[in-house]
Assembly symmetry: C2
């Protein structure tokens, strides 16, 4: 179920300097997109930002949108819509699995 790979992708482990290199964006831009709520890095206890690979991917997407002239506000809405879809899809799968278990249970018990 590739649990580990997903954890690598979402684990917040990089500081802003590497994200800067990976994305080609300036620190200013990266911090600004955070202020506009487009991504949510974690912080160390002393306040240093930590990013994940998925944050890096998201930043690339954001950069593309910005270049197309889309405003951060719009981008935020798009991201929110995407989150919503994913939540629905996840729940769908979850429900289907649960339903399957229930079916198996009742059939095996011969109700």
């Amino acid at each position: 179920m590739k649990t580990e790979e997903a954890s690598y992708r979402d684990k917040k482990v990089m500081s802003i300097g590497i994200v800067k290199e990976l994305t080609g964006l300036s620190e200013r831009q990266i911090r600004y997109y955070e202020k506009r709520q487009l991504l949510f890095p974690e912080r160390t206890s002393t306040g240093i930002r930590k990013y994940s690979f998925s944050d890096v991917e998201r930043l690339m997407d954001i950069a593309d949108k910005i270049e197309e002239g889309v405003q951060t506000k719009e981008i935020r809405h798009e991201l929110a819509r995407r989150e919503e879809k994913n939540r629905n899809k996840t729940n769908e799968i979850r429900n289907r699995m649960l339903q399957g278990q229930l079916n198996a249970h009742f059939h095996s018990r011969n109700y």
Copy 2:
């Protein structure tokens, strides 16, 4: 072929502070194991070490071995042997693929 996940795993992106947190080892230990050639972090242009998730995994393995009383020299040999095996396996696959292409080629040309 999960090219991307592998890239996340092997990409050197973390500084020693996070590796320290992730592994529970001290900076001293992490740098020492490097000196003993057990892992090979990259460096930024200014000399800061950068580690990958696979380095973190390797450090966990190393820590286990050390606890078992194995010396760094032994651990290095074990790691070398493991690399050797992987190289062989990769070549095997590569050769098999090449052979398959050759076969396809000659059969289709009807020699």
